[in-house]
Symmetry: C2
Subunit: 74 residues, 2 copies
């Protein structure tokens, strides 16, 4: 198991989220709308610009209908 520094972690997480979002057939806008959050936030999370909350990630996994653990599996 490898541990990343925060910046690398956020970028890797974002890439993985993007993968699952597309896999489930969502645009950033659809995901943001279903979540009730800003589309710009999705963009920032996927690019690793911001360090979002675990609650937010729980909501995202709910909307995408995936296991939250998958979002941390990379």
């Amino acid at each position: 198991m490898e541990y990343l520094d925060e910046s690398s972690f956020l970028i890797a997480f974002g890439k993985n989220l993007r993968k699952y979002r597309k896999l489930q057939g969502f645009t950033q806008e659809q995901l943001a709308n279903d979540l009730g959050i800003e589309i710009s936030q999705i963009s920032r999370i996927e690019r690793g610009v911001i360090n979002t909350s675990i609650g937010n990630i729980n909501s995202i996994s709910k909307v995408l209908k995936i296991d939250i653990k998958d979002l941390f599996d990379f």
Copy 2:
């Protein structure tokens, strides 16, 4: 797979974190010191009072030497 609302999720997450922290033989203070964050934050996370960041959780898994996915496995 079951999806929790945010409040229930944060409480469940906190309980799980506490379980793994004790399992790895850390006090809240030791964990906070190793992380370089406030002990009061650990307490708040474990009680589900705050909605901490994914970067913080990555750091915690690193210090506890566990798989980050375990912290989301409940």
